[in-house]
């Protein structure tokens, strides 16, 4: 337990000292927030084609960007970090000193969750200050969706970090997944304007379901049971595969 807490604290400091990861996980979603907000404002769509689920673009994007922060952690930050640790012999060093797999992955879970919370707080403050979106209608459900979504992408990150052998491969695969999910999974253009094929690819990404799960309580829609079940399923499968394929060296 002492090791877990020490390791978590050190990992938080290491995260803050790594500007590229800070920019990627915390600043990039803010940049998207301002770009999309600057282009679309927060007026709900008029006319025959309903986009953004019929709500204001910023009402739509605020919970989406919570998901974007989680997804940036799960596809890029966490896998690159873990694969790099393994490639350079850091995990080997930890293991020889009797660090357990639970303290190593536990510290990464806590740090990743803290990053997701920080990123979402930044989005909330900036979004509310600049675009005056609707505030969450069901905050308790939103909090539950947030925890499940964050844990899902953390486990997904462990899975990628376990199977990808090197920093290079983790960066390559992670960035491809990041852009596919961001553009087609619901954090980019409104899904309603995408072609059928694009919508299909979007729907098979974890981000799509995490975003639905987050949006519904925020916007006052009914809890999305399917989305939460799918997210829970991805979590369990990712965690199982990560445990199966985790290697210290």
């Amino acid at each position: 337990m002492r090791t877990l807490l020490k390791l978590t604290w050190v990992e938080i400091k290491l995260f803050i000292r790594e500007p590229i990861t800070v920019i990627f996980t915390l600043a990039l979603p803010l940049i998207f927030l301002f770009v999309m907000g600057g282009v679309f404002g927060n007026e709900p769509s008029q006319g025959d084609i309903i986009i953004y689920r019929g709500v204001g673009p910023m009402d739509y994007y605020m919970p989406s960007y919570y998901g974007l922060v989680m997804m940036a952690i799960g596809t890029v930050a966490l896998p690159v970090h873990l694969a790099g640790y393994r490639e350079r012999g850091v995990l080997r060093r930890f293991r020889a000193s009797s660090f357990s797999v639970w303290s190593v992955l536990g510290s990464q879970t806590m740090v990743s969750f803290a990053i997701a919370v920080t990123g979402s707080i930044l989005i909330t403050i900036m979004g509310i200050a600049v675009y005056h979106p609707h505030l969450p209608v069901y905050p308790v459900q939103l909090a539950a969706a947030f925890v499940l979504g964050a844990v899902c992408f953390i486990c997904f990150g462990f899975f990628l970090g376990a199977v990808l052998p090197s920093t290079r491969s983790a960066q390559g695969v992670g960035l491809i997944l990041f852009f596919i999910m961001m553009i087609l999974g619901g954090a980019g253009p409104p899904p309603e304007v995408m072609s059928g094929g694009m919508q299909f690819i979007g729907e098979i990404t974890p981000l799509h379901w995490v975003i639905y799960m987050l949006q519904n309580p925020w916007l006052g829609f009914e809890w999305h049971t399917n989305a939460s079940l799918i997210t829970a399923g991805i979590t369990v499968v990712s965690a199982g595969l990560a445990a199966r394929f985790f290697r210290w060296e």
């Binding site: 002492r2 090791t3 020490k6 390791l7 050190v10 400091k13 290491l14 000292r17 790594e18 640790y85 350079r88 012999g89 850091v90 080997r92 060093r93 293991r95 020889a96 000193s97 009797s98 660090f99 357990s100």
Partner: protein, 302 residues
């Protein structure tokens, strides 16, 4: 002294490569035990199996009475490891690493003392990536000691250290031994093994070819001392008749007289008798390197 480590018939292969063929040895409590051999001899594989970092193909290992295969975590808590290939996060600071590694053991040492002893106190706030090779090495040794281990494994610990730092490291390792910690040292440096180890096992091609104290190995496997001097006198055939002399080799003015027993005194007396009084007469005692060359037929660094 009871043995604290026992390795019986250890064997480890990687595909078709036999890293460790059949190695058995015991380490006694409170000694510095060295595994000496060329790169690729199987030394590192052997100690990694002992530290539960690799699974042996066959054989039996007990360290502190524990089986590394089934009691890995309990074992790792009681040993210290300085590994040949490992790293720390680039941006971790020296004190943070020591503080974190100390947290695994309730009876950990005060890491400030370790930083002073190993000469990294000035670098306490430096990041790992900014350290020189020698500083990293000293940090890794300090990390191996910070949990106050009963047995410490040091794999090529003086690689990257300058000569002065090597001497300091040797003194510190002796002090650790004197405080009761057993030290298992992997090295390919002959002088390190000869100076530091209480007992040495010479490892070559996955097997132990000899094991004893450095002095014991030298006494058993070498006999001749070499007496060396230079002279411009021509005929030296009489030297071979001096008692104890086995061989005389001449290269230009340089003469090497090999022999056993009091060959130095007898050679010196004979030289004076023949009117040769060389200013550079000296004797070379056989070293561990001679033992190594004799037993393995090749030099350690190849």
């Amino acid at each position: 002294m009871p043995s604290i480590i026992s390795v019986q018939n250890l064997r480890k292969t990687y595909g078709k490569t036999i890293a460790v063929n059949d190695i058995s040895f015991e380490v006694e409590e409170g000694e510095i035990f060295g595994l000496l051999g060329p790169n690729g001899a199987g030394k590192t594989t052997t100690v990694e199996c002992m530290q539960a970092l690799r699974q042996p193909d066959s054989g039996d290992i007990r360290v502190l009475g524990l089986d590394p295969r089934t009691e890995a975590q309990a074992l790792r808590r009681r040993i210290g490891s300085q590994l040949q290939e490992s790293a720390l996060p680039d941006r971790i600071k020296v004190w943070e690493a020591l503080d974190m590694f100390a947290s695994v053991a309730p009876e950990a040492l005060d890491y400030h003392v370790l930083m002073d002893q190993w000469g990294i106190a000035e670098k306490r706030k430096a990041s790992f990536s900014s350290l020189s090779g020698g500083q990293r090495q000293r940090l890794f040794i300090a990390l191996a000691l910070v949990n106050n281990p009963e047995v410490v494994f040091l794999d090529e610990m003086t690689t990257g250290l300058d000569p002065a730092a090597r001497r300091v490291a040797w003194d510190l390792i002796r002090a650790i031994r004197d405080s009761g910690t057993t030290v298992v040292l992997v090295t390919h440096f002959m002088d390190e093994a000869e100076n530091l180890c209480d007992r040495v096992a010479i490892v070559d091609r996955g097997s132990i070819v000899a094991a004893d104290s450095p002095q014991g190995l030298i006494a058993r496997h070498t006999s001749d001392v070499r007496v060396i001097f230079t002279t411009d006198k021509g005929d030296l055939d009489w030297l071979e008749k001096v008692p104890g002399v086995t061989r005389v080799t001449r290269t230009g003015p340089r003469v090497e007289v090999e022999g056993s027993g009091p060959v130095l005194a007898l050679t010196a007396a004979a030289l004076v008798e023949h009117g040769i009084i060389p200013a550079d007469l000296r004797v070379e005692q056989p070293s561990l390197e001679d033992v190594f060359l004799k037993l393995t037929g090749h030099a350690a660094v190849d």
